[in-house]
């Protein structure tokens, strides 16, 4: 299985990667992209099984990425990993087709709970 992490922060991409390993997803292929534009190109070429994306990013943000994917007919499971989890944003995410939203800071247990319905450890 292939998981794509999208975040403009290198530190956060490392932390998400580390947390995925701690949550039992270390055997999967984990790819990274630094913003929505880079992610869109990657997804078109590599067809990941799950996308974990930050919301606020330069170039193309997370919600723009999700909308672009759904517009292209790409139905890959998509979850946000973000410091923003207001009710408005949750509603916007679900409306755009997001499967879940993980709030920063997070734990391996929270990752397991959110990812389990989509990717087996």
């Amino acid at each position: 299985m292939r998981i794509l992490i999208v975040d403009d922060s290198r530190a956060m991409r490392m932390i998400v990667t580390r947390t995925l390993r701690q949550a039992g997803y270390g055997d999967h292929t984990i790819d990274q992209a630094a913003d929505g534009t880079e992610a869109l190109e990657h997804i078109r070429g590599h067809r990941p099984d799950l996308v974990l994306s930050d919301w606020n990013m330069p170039q193309m943000n997370g919600i723009e990425l999700l909308r672009a994917l759904r517009q292209d007919g790409v139905q890959v499971p998509f979850g946000f990993v973000t410091s923003e989890t207001s009710a408005d944003m949750r509603a916007t995410a679900v409306e755009a087709g997001a499967s879940f939203l993980i709030e920063k800071p997070f734990t391996p247990e929270r990752f397991h709970e959110a990812l389990a319905p989509f990717v087996a450890p």
Binding site: R10, A11, M57, P58, E84, T85, S86, P105
Partner: protein, 157 residues
């Protein structure tokens, strides 16, 4: 809702503990004026625009900032001295603190991408006035979080 020092303490201590595994103890100065980032400090901030207008700034001494970056990048005991790594790590922490504070504020509003502030700056824009300032102790060093606010939504203070 009006932000207060207790909210700032709870969120910052939580982020510090969860992300870094470090204890940050809220204490010392609070509520007084703050002159912005010093020469030996790294300051990063996120701006909030919308129903609530302002910014949240994290300011760390360079030694603590390097230690924080080292932990976030998994470098073990090697201190991160690359400014790009340090800035990236501090930006992400400001983003988390700001994002969590934003959740307590009136909405809708938008959180900016975090950025590094220059020496002497205390907020995302000069027109914002620091209204809440709290210092923390971590491993013998002090860092601070400051909240600056415009006088009215969409206003320029």
């Amino acid at each position: 809702m009006t932000l207060n020092a207790n909210m700032l303490c709870e969120i910052t201590e939580g982020v510090w503990g969860s992300v870094l595994g470090l204890e940050a103890r809220c204490g010392g100065r609070g509520g007084e004026s703050w002159g912005g980032a010093g020469e030996d400090e790294v300051a990063t901030c996120v701006e909030i625009t919308g129903a609530w207008e302002g910014s949240v700034t994290l300011c760390c001494p360079t030694g603590l900032a390097a230690r924080v970056a080292s932990i976030m990048f998994g470098l073990g005991d090697i201190e991160a001295d690359d400014p790009d790594l340090v800035n990236d790590a501090l930006c992400e922490l400001a983003n988390m603190i700001g994002g969590n504070l934003k959740g307590l504020l009136p909405g809708p509003s938008i959180l900016s991408v975090p950025k590094v502030l220059g020496v002497g700056a205390g907020a995302a824009r000069e027109s914002l006035q620091v209204q809440l300032f709290q210092s923390f102790e971590c491993h013998g060093e002090r860092f601070c979080v400051a909240v600056a606010k415009a006088e009215s939504p969409g206003g320029t203070a």
